[in-house]
């Protein structure tokens, strides 16, 4: 992609995050990208086309995160993936306002979001199963316990940043990651706890 297009997309995402997609005008995007509206229109004919391009890039980034699944079999691998999730969700905060619109079921990206979030949840479940099998996590005390935990982790990954904004709480990557690890911590077995103390505690706690 050309540098100008990247510049426009970056400026659009910044403005969408601050003001929401509906309240941003092409003039504002042009000002933010330090170019004329005419030049902007040369690259993206209309705001709809621009939004499509923004979403296309967002889904590319989202799908890229899934490739980081279990590159290494230790806890640090999950820590790296949480970092990438943080970068992604902090950079693309506008997605929530779009997602919770009253009538968005016809939007073409609605199904894409559903698909990506379903994959994300599935990966989390699968990772927990892997950790149980590797004796890092204790065996399930009740059936479905780790499915519930996976959903909790998923909610924290997705909604931690909007929640912090909502209650006016400062957040950064460390607090984001701590939140996830604190959810997992009570379920660690002796092996998992040892690995957690060796790999994660020195960096985060």
């Amino acid at each position: 992609m050309y540098n100008t297009k990247i510049k426009i997309l970056n400026a659009s995402v910044r403005l969408f995050n601050e003001n929401g997609i509906d309240s941003v005008r092409l003039q504002q995007i042009a000002d933010e990208s330090e170019m004329s509206v005419g030049n902007l229109a040369y690259h993206y004919k209309s705001k709809d086309v621009l939004i499509e391009a923004v979403y296309e890039r967002v889904f590319d980034e989202f799908n890229e995160i899934f490739r980081h699944y279990l590159k290494r079999p230790d806890l640090a691998d999950f820590d790296i993936q949480i970092s990438i999730y943080y970068t992604f969700f902090s950079r693309n905060r506008f997605y929530l306002s779009e997602f919770f619109k009253a009538n968005n079921s016809t939007a073409p990206h609605y199904l894409q979001w559903q698909d990506c979030t379903a994959k994300m949840l599935l990966q989390l479940r699968s990772r927990l199963q892997f950790m149980v099998r590797k004796n890092e996590l204790l065996p399930e005390k009740e059936p479905g316990q780790y499915e519930l935990l996976a959903e909790q982790i998923w909610m924290s990954l997705v909604f931690f940043i909007p929640k912090s904004n909502m209650i006016g709480q400062h957040y950064d990557e460390i607090s984001y990651k701590k939140n996830i690890w604190n959810l997992l911590r009570p379920y660690f077995g002796p092996d998992g706890l040892e690995e957690f103390r060796a790999l994660i505690v020195p960096v985060l706690f």
């Binding site: 279990l70 894409q112 994959k119 599935l122 699968s126």
Partner: protein, 119 residues
């Protein structure tokens, strides 16, 4: 937005299960896995068979090196392509004679060596 490839969610689940599995099932290889590359003495006692067949609209010449002791131990190598079948056959014949230990064709494999049971 251009249509995206979406993997079926059940297939994706199976894929993740497979990724999980590999850490428990797959083991590190050792030096013996590379024996194929340096243990090539058996190639001295092989019958060389030329095979001309159609491939991608042309005639392909392959050479098959089959051990005379155990014909099931063989390797196949693609040599060249020709548009003319006669030239391909001629090329195969030349290449076979160049590659064979004995040009007269004394080293050969027999179907009996395969010990096929016809019951």
């Amino acid at each position: 937005m251009k249509p995206r490839f979406n993997i079926d969610i059940k297939a994706y689940d199976a894929l993740l299960e497979g990724l999980n599995q590999q850490y428990f099932v797959e083991k590190r290889g050792d030096q013996s896995d590379f024996r194929l590359y340096f243990d090539d003495l058996w190639l001295a006692d092989t019958a060389v068979i030329d095979d001309v067949h159609r491939s991608r609209g042309a005639w392909a010449v392959d050479l098959i090196f089959a051990s005379i002791h155990n014909p099931l131990k063989f390797i196949r190598r693609h040599i060249t392509l020709h548009s003319c079948p006669k030239r391909a056959a001629q090329q195969g014949e030349f290449m076979r004679r160049v590659a064979a230990k004995d040009q007269r064709g004394t080293l050969s494999v027999s179907i009996r060596s395969l010990q096929i049971c016809k019951n």
